[in-house]
């Protein structure tokens, strides 16, 4: 392409820096949101995997147990009796550093004699002789620990300094005997919250006398029989799993959450694409005279096409690079929110810093450039259609657009119908469920110009006679330039519909959870008994506490729960073990009709009830039997009920304590419900209970638990809210960009109005009238679209993602807020163009062509 041709076009672009900047902003914001979610999500999960590798090193497999932990004699049996050499015992749990910081550290106890062969991450960064020194000192000096140089610096500790750690109200002094020097960002993160001690020290600190958290196994590929050998001696509560499959299952667990977040990111990109399309179309249409002239002097259609695509490519590169930088910054913020949500719903991960990989950057580049080029294709084709002889007038262009809008209307109906069909006939696929929302939103977006034309006609018909000529202008201007206003309204409509949909869904969810909590919290006070369930001390203490509680004069009765894990189908399944009373039984909301003998069967026979998410994810129905691994082998437990539970999305089983104790060993309690006698002063009773519990344990009223649970609920949606506002911000930029371009394009028309005597204030009011109407139209159309989105989110996406069913609660306030958001956003977007146009001198405006 000739450079002069380039210059002819580029000079035009330089004269419109606002539009150029807004196109770049559109690309940058879309890319930033997608990339930030990807980076934050991947960093959280990678941190979890890397933390595992901190001590697993080259281990291929891991022996783990439920809450009882592993008996350390298993290690001896494997090593001595079975002759398996490449195994390493690990005792690990979280501890609190009491003096220097509030931070919790993961304490890992290793066997220094064999640790070296495992080549765990912490060793890889050290010199061989240094590692040997560390291991020898760990072995020879009791109560010693290693930590990273960065941690030591943060905690102001030096070699040979002492510090105190606390686990389960047990305090222990440890001495720093070595500092680990990570040589890259990943190992720095892995070691940031890690303490390494000899296994005996760890067992003492953590109270795991005679118990292990896991045994790491390095499997020789040439000796697969070792797996069978291990299998033979494994106790009933232990599992041999591959380290890969463990991290895989963690990813699987968070898959639904991850897909939903990424969909939110893509929504932002979709809105961003509207913005790019809009801006590029403007830039093409504004250059119709220039393009016509170029065609007249012999520039081919292909050259015009290349010219537009070339410009878009340049914009895409600039926008994408800015977007990646923004995405990394935004990712830092999102990382905390995502880690918190994963912590609250799934498993414990430490907050880390963002890890940026070239693959993710590559994905961002492809996405940014790909989305821009896709959005630019229609205007690029439009540019090639400009005649070299006659330059199309605005009205000619618009009449062409109106034909397209009619076709788009028909396509939109197909998309909406297709979206609904996809939503309800796509099995259990979350991705297809989300894809249906995209189809629906896109369908509604394509229908927006038709809806806008209809609305403007209706406004005129209803209010035209009451409005003066001047005030007929705003709806007329919107209709007259529908090819431009329609896109801006559609972009705003998508963002507001997504907001309404998410708000209705979150509101419905909140209401459902609130009702569930109110129904479930039957006791007056709850005693929480946290801590590692491996320790014999704890079990004994739990029982003593329960006895004391029962003896209190104002206590009518108690209920209890133990949250633990049982092996089923070669994986750990969460189980809640209940000791129920007449009141607490009423706290279960079953998803089906329940017979009178359910609780009798629950207590007396080999039965379980399962939560709704568990039944959904495992395709479980009433009457089905689940094989649970006991010390006597696999035992079938009949499912006699499915009940609502919103405490987690993986679901769990529930069985009576009577059943549990018949097959598994006692693990104490996780919580005790206290039911007061009538007329008891609950505050007094709470004070009384508080005196009986340890610092780790807590006493909370049903109201306090309700409040804390609802706060946790809100916290898990913080990330969703944040992303929603980001896409609204992009839509706002889109409307702003469209309005700016529109006003610039009609500068002359506004100049004529000024020439015939319209004051700047009237002109401002006209522009606000137009933008306000655009906002209202977007808001009004977002109401049905948002309701459809909410419906699909509640009954399709969330059910498939998490297995929860919830009722649809219509909240009119959400609608008013959506409407207000659209109206105010559009008005705000109109401020600058209105002020600019009001300030433009009519003589200048009249000179503009």
């Amino acid at each position: 392409m000739s450079s002069i041709l380039d210059r002819a076009s580029r000079n035009f672009l330089w004269q419109h820096p606002w539009q150029l900047a807004l196109a770049i902003v559109g690309i940058a914001l879309g890319v930033a949101v997608v990339i930030s979610i990807d980076l934050a999500m991947e960093s959280s999960l990678t941190a979890f995997e890397q933390a595992g590798k901190a001590f697993s090193g080259t281990a291929t497999h891991r022996i783990i147990a439920g809450d009882g932990g592993l008996d350390e004699r298993l290690y001896t049996r494997l090593r001595v009796e079975q002759g398996i050499q490449k195994i390493a015992p690990v005792a690990s749990a979280y501890v609190q550093l009491t003096e220097q910081t509030e931070e919790s550290f993961r304490l890992i106890g290793i066997d220094p004699l064999i640790e070296k062969s495992l080549q765990a991450v912490w060793q890889q960064q050290q010199k061989a002789n240094k590692t040997s020194v560390f291991l020898t000192r760990l072995l020879s000096e009791p109560n010693t620990a290693l930590m990273s140089e960065q941690s030591a610096q943060r905690l102001h500790l030096k070699i040979n300094d002492d510090f105190t750690v606390m686990a389960d109200s047990r305090e222990q002094r440890l001495k720093v005997i070595g500092l680990l020097a990570p040589d890259n960002a990943v190992s720095e993160q892995v070691l940031a919250r890690l303490l390494i001690t000899d296994i005996a020290t760890a067992q003492e600190v953590l109270g795991l006398f005679g118990r292990l958290s896991s045994i790491e196994v390095v499997l020789d590929k040439n000796r697969p029989e070792i797996l069978a050998q291990i299998g033979k001696v494994l106790p009933a509560n232990a599992l041999l799993i591959s380290t890969d499959s463990q991290s895989q299952s963690m990813r699987e667990m968070t898959r639904a959450f991850s897909i939903n977040l990424k969909a939110m990111g893509l929504l932002s990109l979709l809105v961003g694409m509207f913005l790019i399309y809009n801006t590029m179309t403007f830039l093409v249409v504004q250059r119709r005279r220039l393009i016509g002239s170029l065609r007249a002097i012999g520039v081919t259609r292909r050259q015009i096409f290349k010219l537009i695509i070339g410009e878009a490519f340049l914009l895409a590169i600039i926008g994408t690079l800015i977007g990646i930088a923004l995405g990394i910054a935004l990712g830092q913020g999102l990382l905390y929110l995502i880690s918190e949500t994963i912590n609250a719903i799934y498993f414990r991960i430490d907050t880390t810093s963002l890890m940026v990989s070239p693959v993710q950057i590559g994905k961002g580049v492809l996405l940014g450039i790909g989305a821009t080029l896709l959005a630019v294709l229609p205007p690029a084709f439009e540019a090639t259609r400009f005649s070299p002889v006659t330059v199309l007038t605005r009205s000619q262009l618009e009449s062409g657009s109106r034909r397209l809008i009619k076709v788009a209307g028909l396509i939109s109906l197909v998309l909406i119908a297709g979206g609904m069909a996809l939503a309800f006939f796509s099995g259990k696929s979350i991705s297809l469920g989300l894809a249906s929302i995209f189809l629906l939103l896109f369908g509604f977006a394509l229908l927006t110009p038709n809806f806008t034309l209809l609305s403007m006609r209706l406004i005129e018909r209803l209010f035209g006679r009451f409005l003066g000529i001047l005030w007929r202008l705003p709806p007329r201007m919107i209709s007259a330039e529908i090819s431009r206003t329609g896109i801006a309204i559609a972009a705003l409509m998508i963002a507001v519909a997504a907001t309404i949909g998410m708000d209705l869904m979150i509101g419905s969810f909140r209401q459902t959870v609130a009702q569930w909590l109110q129904a479930s919290l039957r006791a007056d006070l709850y005693v929480s008994l946290p801590g590692e369930k491996m320790t014999a001390d704890k079990i004994l203490a739990d029982h003593r506490l329960k006895e004391k509680l029962a003896e209190l004069p104002n206590v009518q009765m108690l209920s209890s729960v133990l949250h633990t894990k049982i092996i089923t189908d070669d994986e750990f399944t969460k189980v809640s073990v209940f000791e129920l009373n007449a009141k607490s039984k009423k706290g279960f909301i079953f998803k089906h009709k329940v017979g009178d003998d359910l609780w009798n069967r629950f207590e007396q026979r080999q039965t379980v009830i399962v939560t709704e998410p568990y039944a959904y994810h495992h395709d479980i129905s009433i009457g089905q039997k689940i094989l649970l691994q006991t010390a006597q082998g696999n035992e079938p437990f009949e499912v006699i009920g499915i009940y609502a539970d919103y405490s987690g999305d993986q679901g769990h089983l529930a069985m009576s304590r009577h059943n549990f104790q018949h097959y598994w060993s006692d693990l104490g309690y996780s919580g005790i419900g206290v039911y007061a006698k009538d007329g008891t002063d609950l505050q007094q009773l709470e004070n009384q209970l508080s005196k009986l519990v340890t610092a780790e344990q807590s006493v909370k009223s049903d109201r306090a638990i309700y409040k804390a649970s609802m706060e946790m609920f809100e916290q898990t949606f913080t990330i969703t809210e944040t992303l929603r506002w980001l896409s609204a911000a992009i839509a706002f930029t889109g409307v702003f960009s469209a309005l700016m371009a529109l006003q610039f394009e009609r500068t002359r028309q506004l100049g004529i109005l000024r020439a015939i005597g319209i004051t700047p204030r009237q002109l401002t009011a006209l522009i606000f009238g137009e933008t306000g109407l655009m906002g209202l139209t977007a808001g009004l159309f977002a109401i049905p679209a948002g309701n459809v989105v909410a419906y699909v989110l509640i009954f399709v996406v969330y059910q498939r993602s998490f297995g929860w069913t919830m009722a649809f609660y219509f909240n009119p306030w959400v609608i008013y807020q959506g409407l207000a958001l659209a109206f105010i956003a559009a008005l705000f977007a109109g401020i600058f163009p209105a002020l600019k146009m009001a300030k433009t001198k009519p003589a200048e405006a009249l000179r503009t062509e």
Partner: protein, 227 residues
Amino acid sequence: MTTEAAITIQQLSKSYQESGRQHEIFSKLDMQVRRGEFIVLFGRSGSGKSTFLNLVSGIDPPDRGKVIINGINLTGLTEHERTLFRRHHIGFVFQSYNLIPTLTVAENLLLPLELIKRITVKDKDKVAGLLARLNFADRLDSYPDRLSGGEQQRVAIARALIHDPDVILADEPTGNLDLDTGKQVLELLDTLVKKAGKTMIMATHSQEVIGMADRIFSIHNRSLVSR
């Protein structure tokens, strides 16, 4: 035509900046236009004819000098006051017609009236009557883009007159029209404006207008020259 001055221009100067340099368009122009007089302003492209009309109408303020219409010095008014003055006292006819594309023919005519007062049935009848005289009786509800150039300019002339302004300013009203249509437009202006006793300044290239004008001026070397 009366001897009373409708427009008085004193020492009018205007310049603009381009690439950091000051370009003077004209300097110290003086002119008096009597009420009902038809002034034609000739000049090559870029000589400043449109700028002159913009200054007279108060669309653009001068650098120096005065524009006095009906005894009111426009240069002493604020932007807002000039706009209100224009609304009441000036009718503008542009080369590119400049009808509001989103308003119908009738609405384009009603808009200047609405800016002055509440529209009555009488006003609507006035618009209908004027348009009927221009053979637009059946096209009141048509939009400008449905009209030919000549038709649009006829509507634009009607719009300039509908609110009964004292002064009509016409900037190359035939510039975009063919010879025949241009003649028709000039005849219309002559009929409607001159016979209504309005004062008019028309900037044009058209020689056809010479016979209609009371006085002819041109802008030459930044000065106003009588011909």
